[in-house]
């Protein structure tokens, strides 16, 4: 009898009604509402979109559709054969690459400035968040007006300073439009980057800096050999978050340049196909492609981050 008691107490497998089993059960109950909500608002629409992408469904006759397999993807008029789609992919990637790298560099600079102890710091930290807090549609509209070719303040000032001879069509000129959009995105998202990097900077132990000071290590060396390696995991997280955001960019581009082919992102392309052209099946195929790209990137990024953190933790 005592032997049996001992075995059940020290058994590696949690027994029915054991404390560990109770905890696991409670955890599932706690998580269940969230899982249900996620399945309803995330899982179901996603599955439905993927299903619709395999049909010839149209907005005007939503209930009357036929299964057509991968026709929307690889058919003669499928997504992968569409120059407009590839243009949208290229625009999105260019936008993402440009804006995220600019935001990272600027964010790092701002974070380093904000990391200097000063009385202004708390105030600046709050002020910094303003661009991030303004709804994108509002700031996009605001910038559209400022960048307006005839009445915009940007052209006015540049002309007054003699930097340009004739007004520039910031959002209409195919050469300039994407650049303008990147500029506005950088203005908006740099604070977000700066705050995430600032959080990483504040995790660097102060005494490491003091040790370097006593040892007389030049400041640039301290930054390159101590600060940067220690905040790299933090920067990486910020870059991944921003990249996933930027790949799905919609509102900024839609408000500033509408459906223009020169600046259309994947999300804008999807909306155009679904709503303007009423091609629910085809649009769903584009949306699914976008989803798979972002999902793939997330998985790669998560693996990369885990490796970095393990290296940092090793």
């Amino acid at each position: 009898m005592p032997e049996k008691v001992i075995r059940s107490t020290f058994s590696a497998v949690p027994l029915r009604g054991g404390l560990a089993a109770q905890r696991v059960r409670r955890a599932w109950w706690m998580a269940a509402p969230m899982l249900l909500v996620l399945a309803a608002v995330g899982g179901w629409p996603l599955l439905r979109t993927i299903w619709l992408s395999l049909t010839d469904s149209e907005l005007s006759r939503l209930d009357d559709y036929a299964f057509i397999g991968l026709e929307n993807y690889i058919g003669e008029y499928g997504l992968l054969a569409s120059a407009d789609w590839w243009q949208a992919v290229a625009n999105t990637l260019l936008f993402t690459g440009l804006s995220v790298s600019l935001e990272t560099l600027l964010g790092l600079g701002v974070a380093l400035l904000l990391n200097q102890p000063s009385r202004l710091r708390t105030l600046l930290r709050a002020a910094l968040l303003v661009p991030w807090a303004i709804p994108t549609v509002v700031s996009a509209k605001m910038w559209s007006w400022m960048l307006h070719d005839q009445f915009g303040i940007v052209n006015h000032q540049l002309l007054a300073l003699g930097l340009i001879a004739t007004p520039l069509a910031w959002t209409a000129d195919p050469q300039l439009a994407l650049f303008s959009i990147v500029l506005v995105d950088v203005w908006k998202a740099t604070p977000y980057m700066a705050l995430l990097i600032l959080a990483a900077l504040q995790m660097v132990p102060v005494d490491c800096y003091e040790a370097a000071r006593v040892d007389g290590v030049p400041r640039w060396q301290v930054f390159r050999r101590v600060t940067l390696p220690l905040i790299l995991p933090g920067i990486l997280v910020a870059v991944v978050f921003r990249t996933l955001d930027a790949l799905r960019v919609f509102d900024l581009i839609y408000v500033m340049t509408s459906n223009s082919r020169d600046t259309q992102s994947m999300s804008v392309f999807v909306r155009e196909q679904l709503i303007d052209f009423g091609l629910v099946g085809y649009g769903s195929a584009a949306a699914s492609c976008l989803f798979f790209m972002v999902a793939l990137l997330s998985i790669v990024a998560m693996g990369l981050m885990r490796k970095t953190f393990e290296r940092a933790a090793a």
Binding site: P205, V214, G216
Partner: protein, 380 residues
């Protein structure tokens, strides 16, 4: 040569004085320990020497060179931090090399110095590890090694043992003492709140007291060789801080001035104290002090009830209730069979007495040395 001189050094944080009017000379090769309770500014004083904080007033000289305006790197000091401050992402080797790489050193010099430090601190086989892969004691040794490779004139230690467990602390204490002998001419300044570290390591102890907003007090309560502070505390603060368990203090009045010594009245009992009577007046209120190890149990004409006994194995702490008062007098005894409520005869030898005036200043003592180990010879 690495003499350190402080002249009237003060430090304020805002309007709050942290250190006030410190005059100090630390000789070349001396092991100087700053000790004191928390809030006395001992770590701040060390950071002033390192150049991590700026003095509010006064001058600091290292080797005759005024360093007030010099950045830490040009003061030729190396610091071992309480948290060790190792670079978490660098290996042990890189941690040691990092502070040297920007200096123009001859080829192979860095490797040579690191090899030397590795030998002294027994770090063989750890060079490629990261700090988090090391035990607390190993990290401590790496931190010291990182200081050694810089070959500074002055070593600054900021509570280096406080993160180690008791056994390791004793061992590392011995290593630091050994290191000091091995390094010869370099001065060491060591901050601790632990009086055992201070007593065992120091050539000289500088005991600092918290200012706690007072403007009349000075930071340095007393400075001198460890045994001077033990036998001749300059004031009640020093007497109470040095020695464990702390000295007994009993309120008393001066009865008469005899020669040599003073007779004091403690609740109707007259005790002799062999201290200078200079400046004392009969009837003056004073404080009598005697260390627990100097209270004699089992002899004498006075008797006291034992109110509590703590048995530590090697000895016992015996709390005596002084006749006619609630004040407990702590005595050390090698006996472990003393029972609570026992009535014990006890004696307070005149040559073991300390006497403090109402402002806390000690009367000079005649007896330089105590009778040999009285607590342990009191009982056969």
């Amino acid at each position: 040569m690495s003499r350190i001189a402080l002249r009237g050094v003060s430090k304020f944080f805002g309007n709050i004085p942290v250190l006030k009017d410190i005059d100090l000379d630390i000789a070349s090769g001396e092991f100087c320990v700053f000790v004191g309770p928390s809030g006395c500014g001992k770590s701040t004083l060390l950071r002033l020497l390192a150049g991590l904080e700026e003095v509010s007033a006064g001058e600091i000289e290292i080797d005759g060179l005024l360093v007030n305006q010099l950045p830490p790197a040009q003061r030729n000091v190396a610091m071992v931090f309480q948290s060790y401050a190792l670079y978490p992402h660098m290996s042990v080797y890189q941690n040691m090399a990092f502070g040297l790489q920007h200096r123009k050193l001859a080829a192979g010099e860095i490797e040579q110095r690191i090899a030397g430090a590795v030998r002294i601190l027994q770090l063989d086989g750890l060079l490629q590890r990261r700090p988090r892969e090391l035990s607390g004691g190993q990290r401590q040794r790496v931190a010291i090694a990182r200081a050694i490779v810089r070959q500074p004139k002055v070593f600054l230690f900021d509570e280096p043992l406080s993160n180690l467990d008791a056994a390791l602390r004793v061992q590392t204490r011995l290593e630091i003492a050994r290191l000091h002998r091995a390094l010869g001419s370099a001065s060491m300044v060591y901050v601790t709140h632990d009086q055992v570290e201070a007593m065992t390591l120091a050539d000289r102890i500088v005991l600092l007291q918290p200012l706690a907003g007072r403007t009349d007090a000075l930071s340095v309560a007393q400075s001198g060789p460890p045994l001077d502070l033990y036998h001749h505390p300059a004031n009640r603060f020093v007497a109470g801080f040095i020695g464990s368990p702390a000295m007994n203090f009993v309120e008393a009045t001066v009865k008469s001035l005899c020669h040599p010594g003073v007779a004091v009245d403690v609740l109707g009992t007259i005790w002799d104290a062999r201290v200078s009577s200079r400046g004392l007046m009969p009837g003056e209120a004073v404080t009598l002090g005697i260390r627990p190890e100097h209270v004699l149990l089992g002899q004498g004409t006075q008797r006291a009830r034992v109110s509590h006994v703590e048995r530590l194995g090697e000895l016992s702490h015996v709390y005596l209730e002084l006749p006619g008062s609630g004040t407990a007098l702590l005595a050390k005894s090698p006996r472990d069979d003393i029972a609570t409520d026992e009535l014990l005869p006890f004696d307070l030898p005149p040559q073991a007495m300390h006497l403090f005036r109402s402002d806390g200043v000690a009367q000079a003592r005649y007896a330089a040395q105590q009778p040999a180990d009285p607590a342990h010879s009191a009982f056969p």
